[in-house]
């Protein structure tokens, strides 16, 4: 149970000190106040769970104090001490929300029992609140997950349906381009216009294809293929894939890996996707001669990778939008706005976490944690290694 102090409020110094001393002897954390005002100023600076207050005090009396405390600190409980002949004070105190009252002279045992009961009540209420808010968070998360899942199914459907006609446009356009490239077509009227229009169609197909392919990545089927994954090898591999763009911009990439890097159980294909997207982002953000640093190190039952770039950074006002689908600052055709959205989906699928810090003009830091999924896999029988479902 929590260790917030019990406060004794009484104007009679001897009585107050005696109670405090005796309660302390019994191992309780006790503080004392000589009047209501002092008690309230104490509570400003530190939380007090249980207040034991005399009713009869000069100035602010116990009932007034009770009202103020109940109003300001509804989580606290107050035990009132009444004079022997004034039990009605206690009753009206309970009506105002006091936990209980004791008539003076009080028995110490009785007081301790009451204090513990009050603490117990507070504790239970707190637990209940925690449970309610936990349930609420889970519910919100489930709603979000379900929405994303159905969005994913829809997106995959749309992407798939669009890919087919897109493929037809692509082949038709390519066919016409081939025909127009023949020697005997060289002098047909307005050939330049036709070539120009076909080039536009071709570019647009590529652009639309990027979008549909990204959408399909996002809506991957939920079955991961868990095998041993060496994250640093995957990163080195990914850097190799991006070598051309890196050298084109003369970007310095430094990779620091902890020497004792364990391999983890996860999905290598998905992780490659994560790093490909993240490194591509970092490269795009960097000016010529920029730097990208990658730190990989073990963290409880998993691996953490930090990717920092010296790029343009993200303005603060955009930070809460970066994981939204179709949010991009690139010009149309250059970015789909699905990169980080896809990454977030994958990281969550792999039970990991991703966080992003950025300072506009200084660069961006992405930190990813990926857990070893073997233990998790054992628990759920449904996911089998190498099994594939349509």
């Amino acid at each position: 149970m929590n260790q917030n102090p019990v406060m004794i409020v009484d104007d009679e110094e001897d009585f107050r000190n005696a109670i405090v001393r005796r309660l302390k002897k019994r191992g309780l954390n006790v503080i004392a106040a000589d009047c209501g005002e002092t008690a309230l100023s104490y509570m400003e600076s530190q939380p007090v769970d249980v207040i034991v207050s005399d009713v009869k005090m000069p100035g602010m009396d116990g009932i007034d104090l009770l009202k103020i405390i109940k109003n300001k600190y509804p989580a606290s409980e107050i035990i009132l001490l009444t004079g022997h002949a004034n039990a009605s004070d206690g009753v009206s105190g309970i009506k105002e929300g006091a936990f209980d009252y004791l008539s003076k002279p009080i028995s110490l045992e009785h007081l301790i029992v009451k204090i513990n009961q009050a603490k117990e009540t507070i504790f239970r209420r707190l637990e209940k609140q925690k449970e309610v808010s936990f349930k609420e968070t889970i519910k919100q998360k489930m709603i979000a997950t379900e929405r994303l899942a159905s969005l994913g199914t829809l997106a995959a459907g749309v992407a798939h349906e669009i890919n087919n006609p897109l493929a037809i446009i692509n082949e038709a356009c390519g066919w016409m381009t081939t025909i127009l490239s023949y020697e005997n077509m060289k002098d047909i009227p307005r050939k330049i216009d036709l070539d120009k229009a076909l080039k536009k169609i071709d570019n647009s197909v590529i652009r639309a294809r990027q979008i549909t392919h990204h959408l399909l990545q996002f809506s991957r089927k939920p079955d991961c293929r868990i095998t041993d994954v060496s994250i640093d090898e995957l990163i080195t591999e990914t850097i190799q894939l991006l070598k051309k763009e890196i050298s084109l911009k003369d970007i310095q990439i430094s990779e620091q890996k902890s020497s004792l890097l364990p391999s983890i159980g996860s999905d290598p294909g998905l992780i490659r996707q994560i790093f490909l997207n993240l490194l591509t982002n970092a490269i795009h953000a960097c000016q010529t001669k920029g730097t990208i640093t990658i730190d990989v190190y073990p963290e409880n039952n998993g691996i953490r990778a930090d990717i920092n770039d010296s790029g343009v950074g993200i303005p603060e006002e955009n930070m809460d939008k970066i994981f939204e689908p179709f949010y991009t600052t690139k010009s149309p055709g250059e970015g789909t706005g699905l990169g980080l959205f896809v990454i977030k989906g994958i990281v969550e699928q792999l039970k990991g976490t991703i966080s992003l810090n950025s300072k506009y003009g200084e660069g961006t830091a992405v930190s990813i944690f990926l857990p070893c999924l073997y233990q998790l896999e054992k628990k759920s029988k449904g996911v089998k290694n190498g099994k594939h479902t349509h």
Partner: protein
Amino acid sequence: MVSIPINILLVDDEEDFVEMLSLRLEEKGEKVFTAKSGSECIECLEKQSIDVIILDLKMPGMDGIETLKHIKSQHPLVEVIMLTGHGTAETAVDGMKLGAFDYLIKPSDFDTLTLKLDAARKRKDEQEERIRQAEAKLLLRRSGVI
């Protein structure tokens, strides 16, 4: 350089796609046969000599993977390039484990397709050449020359 046309069998239920891609491949000088389903594909294989099959994985009826299994069991030397509209490469990777040569995601880049077609035909030619040499050797050994 005179290039020998590749005998291609294009299998996809999307008729317009089959038409346009085959026109484009023929324009390039390849010989293209078409099939609208897995069973048509298998029928065609019985009649024609095919080098490379371009096979869509998602078709009604007999799907791409089933068709692939059949092709690989009946005509193991024919190379298969899979086309997948479904962006996940996993089905395609499964296909490659079953013996497909490679895969492409729709809509695909024509140059990439061309490269893969050439590579697939090359592998088939080389394999057939090895078989011929092995057969020749066997024949020589049998007739006691070696």
